[in-house]
Amino acid sequence: MRRTGSRSNLQGMGTLVFMLVGPIVWTVHLTLIYGSQSLLCALNLGEDRSAGNAAIIAIILVATAVCIAAVGFSAARPGFVHALIARADLPADQAGFIVTIMRVLAWLSILAMLYAGLGAVILPACGQLR
């Protein structure tokens, strides 16, 4: 960038994104599990139900595990993840606030992802259940 002062504002944008890591991964998680389940159920109709169903459940559980691990890692190593996203250190006097927000959001997102993944443990993959 050719202008001065631009770095701090782009880093600011990065810090905002960093705070939102948990919910952003939650968004990805929901898109993944709902998208793949809907798609595979639509395509799987009339084919061998049991194998296809097992595959869908497996996808959901793996996606849930991976996403939870990713968010858990971010909550455990905030400095590293911030550097990755914002290409800068956390602003020293704001670090406490920013990391707290990021961590609590991360835990809430993990809970939300657990809730969604729980469905795959209890329910069949494609049945209308009516």
Binding site: N9, T15, C41, D93
Partner: protein, 849 residues
Amino acid sequence: MTQQYPAELPNKGPRPKEELEELERIWATPKGFKLLTVVNNTVVGTIYIGAAFLFFVLAGILALLMRTQLAVADNNFLSQDLYNQIFTVHGTTMMFLFAVPIVEALGVMLLPQMLAARDLPFPRLSAFAMWAYIIGGLVFFSTIFYDMAPKGGWFMYPPLTLTEYSPGNNADFWLLGIGFIEISAIAGAIEIIVGVLRTRPPGMTLAKMPVFAWAMLIFAAMIVFAFPAVILATMLLELERSFGWPFFTAALGGDALLWQHLFWFFGHPEVYIIFLPAAGLVSMMVPTMAQTPLIGYRLIVVALIATGFFSFGLWVHHMFTTGIPGLSLAFFSAASMAVAIPSGIQVFSWIATIAAGKRPFRINVPSLFILGFLFIFVLGGLTGVMVAVVPFDFQAHDTYFIVAHLHYVLVGGMVFPLFATFYYWAPMVSRKMLSERLGRWAFWLMFIGFNTAFFPMHITGLAGMPRRVWTYSGYLGWDLLNSISTAGAFIMATGVLVFIIDLIRNFRLGGGGPENPWNAGTLEFLPTDVYSTRSVPHVTSREPLWDQPDLAQQVREGLHYLPNAPTGRRETIITSVIEAKPQYLMQMAGSSWTHVAAAVFTAGCFLLLTIKAVAIALISGVLAIVSFIVWGWQLDRPDQGEVDIGSGIRLPTYMAGPSSHSWWAMVIVMLVAASLFISYIFSYLYLWIVSPEVWAPAGSPALPPLTYPVNSAILMVFGSVLVYWAGKRLPAAGRLDLPLPLLTPAMLILAAAFLAGSVGVEVLGHLRMGLDPSANSYSAMVYMGSFLTGQAAFATIILCAFACGRLVSKRLDQKRSVTFDNAALLYWYTAGQGLCGLVLIHGFPRVIG
């Protein structure tokens, strides 16, 4: 914590008298007829709130008509057709013309005061949004008087709203009227995001921001991502109604559920879009009433953000009975549970704050409304959790149980805090406070009336009464419950009437009212005038007025930042996003007719299109574009050199690139466009899943040969490179003797032509293959992609032409480059979107084929 209160105040007193006079002159509110041109946030905010409140009263009157009709069984007070129109207009008006606008209005009104900014960063944009909304809203609402109102419900489900089942213009009024109110909502959202992130006072870091500013930031961000889905939905439905592009007709490969997905992807976040700012207001008022800082500030911020996100994962819970697989429903049931936790956090934070407060806890009108809100909202939240449990929703869905639930959440969650807000913040703009006595009457009537009206509906619904029925048989025995509800509705309306009487008796616009009557801790209770605060305070805590007892006096005497108008025009301090360090002084636009004309002609264009007066509509559209161009031409004023704002801080008065407020606004515009396009990609893939049989290559004409998309792509890439080169060849500031001075504008024109050509080539390719947009959902989706890219290209081309005009007239150079930056950003965005579209349209069928 490490932030230190400046050892000395930023500026020395006493300030020269002329400074104040100059500020008053610069920020003066236009008088008389010219009041229409006003942009000052307190005046615009007051008109905006007034208009939204008017719609609240009007839609409330419709509710009373409906309750009268339903008071007894087999009633004929309203006809079936009129009732269907009335419930549609009631819902639409409350959601689109009252709830969202009044929250934006409160943002316009309160944010600059809370942030001690002179005004929001794009004052004309908020005034434009307001006028567009008032004109569009009034025309939309008036259709109820001519039997022309839509009658498909506020959710407008196709196929009921397709021409076959809804002939006439009624449904079009909804689509175009609302489509354009959506646009004004987005305009407001851009304003609010940039305002909260960049116009905070020095020292107000993210951690010190008032909760309302957090809430508004999230509110606006949600609008950016939620509204494009419904904008796309309204476009698709209008295209199907007008030109027969079958997006929703099952026989031609469309699907009625596509509308529901798009509508509720907007519609559910919408509920939280309405609720979050209200919760933010409560989080501002509770600490004042308790006279203690908010307990759990960080948790509340977390709750607001989490609600903002999770609310996007709930939309299918409006579709639990459509027959989609149970596990899909489970995902959304899970998210509906998860979103309850942030609400719990907020409720218990407020209780904790009250418990921690000074004794006795003050019971006055605002706190009564807050306590009423707490009760109603908790009850509504609990029934919300109930309907989030899928099997229960199978019974409750579309019954009066839901009517009860949604009114508990919306009236409880939003209207009660709003009335608290009216009483609490009225002294900020009124010379007199509202009456404590009338206010208590209003509260008790509203509270008792509300619960009498809506609590029985839980039972009515489970006793079997569906929603949206204009009458019911006496034999079913729902009379008593319905009569009670009707009585409650009238009691509640009496409460609103008492409030209106209070307004008439006591609300007098103008300064000089009691200063900080509640002893609040936040900046909006600093002494203000037309220019907002005399000087911009250095903020060191969340409740500056409590922690710095002399602050009001210092600010009034101009001892803080920017006690004057160094550029001789309207201006405000722009600070950095996280730490709120002063970065530059923004020169702001003042009163003008341009945005008023733009609003009138935009509204005219949409509304004339609705009644199919295409020729006049196009003229109106052209006039609107001209108004926008004149408006834009007056902006981007040249650098005025560095100025001193106090404490020896010298700020530039011009900024381009990623630090400029304009760059941030453009990024948000791009996010809006991107969410629109992502909604489109979703729709394309969704319809493919539903109807793969109409997809090329099997069910439709073959795709054009690859030369078409490749040429289209080459044009866009070349255009983008040209724009980049043009950016390298901007004239140096103050130097006019560049070799070949017309080369740069010529490059821009050529780039614009390439963009138009690229869209043209793409459309031509499909036409050549004989693809007819009305043949099936696939063909309609193919052309829809070009339609969206064409729309973005149209805006880009106008911006490029505009930049050329600025170049040729020597208003654009390497330093003063905001106009060019905006055009370039939008160009690259459009090219990127176009390329994604080409990959989808030409790649996807080849992959599956």
